[in-house]
């Protein structure tokens, strides 16, 4: 039984590899997760989950490149699992996950180190109507409050709330159509 298993230390060559895996990828995994949840609390929680899963289940036979793809895969499924709980999606429905924006396992080859959410944001901004682009730039890229954004755009605060809602909705539609 499990409890009878002797404590087996990881093979000699494995420990530094896992440490290197962490050192080299923690920032990229965090960035990836953050782009999916948008706040530090959850990003830290999920990043921890990703690496704990990774050290518990990593297949030592993999080469470095393949371990990185696999790590990214763990990150994706961890985020998908989180979304499923957050949005109360039906369990075990891959369609729901895909509908909810999960990109699925096929892109696992994407390199975790080169993942750049900013690029995707820029691309989306470029394809939005001017006012949508402006409101999102003020609110998110420049981190302005509703009030500051309202002043900048000569709108009421309530207008800004409407506009940012529509801008994000539009961006989501464009993004979804692209993928």
């Amino acid at each position: 039984m499990d409890s009878e298993e002797p404590r087996v230390a990881a093979p000699t060559h494995d420990t530094p590899r896992l440490q290197a895996l962490y050192e080299e990828n923690v920032a990229a995994v965090y960035r990836f997760v953050y782009s999916k949840v948008g706040n530090r609390e959850e990003a830290e929680d999920l990043t921890s989950q990703v690496f704990i899963k990774a050290v518990r289940t990593v297949d030592q036979a993999r080469d470095v490149t393949s371990i990185q793809s696999w790590l990214f895969q763990v990150a994706r499924t961890t985020v998908a699992d989180h979304w499923r709980r957050f949005y109360r999606l039906r369990v075990n429905s891959l369609d729901d996950l895909l509908d909810a924006g999960w990109e699925g396992p096929v892109e696992a080859r994407e390199d975790v180190r080169s993942f750049q959410p900013e690029r995707r944001v820029r691309r989306l901004l470029a394809s939005l109507p001017d006012r949508y682009r402006e409101v999102l730039t003020f609110r998110f890229l420049q981190n302005l409050s509703i009030r500051e954004t309202a002043e900048q755009m000569h709108l009421t605060e309530a207008n800004v709330k409407v506009l940012q809602f529509r801008a994000l909705k539009k961006a989501a539609a464009i993004d979804h159509a692209d993928s």
Partner: protein, 288 residues
């Protein structure tokens, strides 16, 4: 009531915005409700405070995508998506423990310990527990400084060995070069005394230091520790840690080699020598 006023003004705004918007924008407002604007703004405000947002009501997939878009755009805020150094250090310690107790097959243990699922889904409580563990380990480490790998009860290398890290020609006087062996990350320097090497693991909690060429210091990203190029804590370092351990070097066939000692024996007799005795992190000399 604030909420009511909010709703009223948003309702008006929705209409005004709709009126003043051009065709393609107006088409987007189909089936919107005032609550949608307010709820999304509440969500965004939580993201901007970097807090876990409250769970939304059940929504359609296209609605969830709008929320996910908010997360994506939030990650483009200045500095938003960089991990906090303290978090990185804590997780490192957590993983360190995890690796040391790693089993060949991990299944949720029925009796003792915490189930894997419990750990993975425990959210805040698991995170808090992890943080507690990390703090405990951190204190241990601080009193017995060692690089991260050395903390393991597993020998990293069975016997000491010399490893080539850079060609002599590629390292002019004054140059500093990072090297990575299977077991050690460090820096080799060409000084007036010859080639010298240092461990790249901060003596505080084992974060990997980076060479800051303009300042000629090794800087630790985790807690801001800074070391002079000879490995001593810099006088201007916000925290003064033990010096970075030196690693013995030699030149062989045009290559600078570093000596990676067997673990558990940080000061083996063969490391004695006029240049670069291997020193433990606590600063003791290697000469018995």
């Amino acid at each position: 009531m604030d909420h009511h006023d909010d709703q009223e003004s948003a309702k008006r705004a929705g209409k005004q915005a709709g009126d003043s918007m051009r065709g393609d924008e107006r088409r987007d407002d189909a089936a919107e409700r005032v609550e949608d604007y307010l709820r999304l703004e509440e969500h965004i405000a939580q993201l901007q405070a970097d807090r876990r947002p409250s769970r939304p009501r059940r929504m359609r997939p296209d609605q969830t995508r709008t929320y996910q878009m908010a997360a994506l755009f939030r990650s483009a805020a200045p500095d938003a998506a960089q991990p906090d150094a303290a978090f990185v250090a804590q997780l490192r310690e957590r993983l360190d423990k995890e690796i040391r107790t790693r089993r060949p097959r991990t299944r949720a243990p029925g009796g003792r310990g915490v189930s894997r699922r419990g750990l993975l889904t425990g959210g805040l409580s698991a995170a808090a527990a992890a943080a507690g563990i990390a703090v405990g380990i951190g204190v241990d480490r601080a009193t017995a400084p060692s690089s991260w790998p050395a903390a393991h009860d597993v020998p990293l290398v069975p016997v000491g060995q010399w490893i080539s890290v850079v060609a002599v020609d590629a390292l002019p006087m004054g140059a500093v070069r990072r090297f990575v062996t299977d077991h050690v990350v460090g820096f080799v320097r060409h000084t007036e005394n010859g080639f010298e090497a240092l461990s790249g693991a901060c003596t505080h909690m084992g974060c990997l230091v980076a060479w800051n060429a303009p300042a000629r210091t090794f800087d630790c990203p985790c807690h801001g520790g800074r070391f002079l190029e000879d490995g001593r804590a810099a006088p201007f370092s916000p925290v003064s840690y033990q010096p970075l351990p030196t690693i013995r070097t030699r030149v062989e066939a045009g290559q600078v080699q570093v000596y990676i000692p067997p673990i558990g024996d940080p000061a083996p007799s063969e490391t004695q020598g006029p240049q670069n005795p291997y020193r433990t992190a606590s600063g003791r000399g290697s000469t018995p």
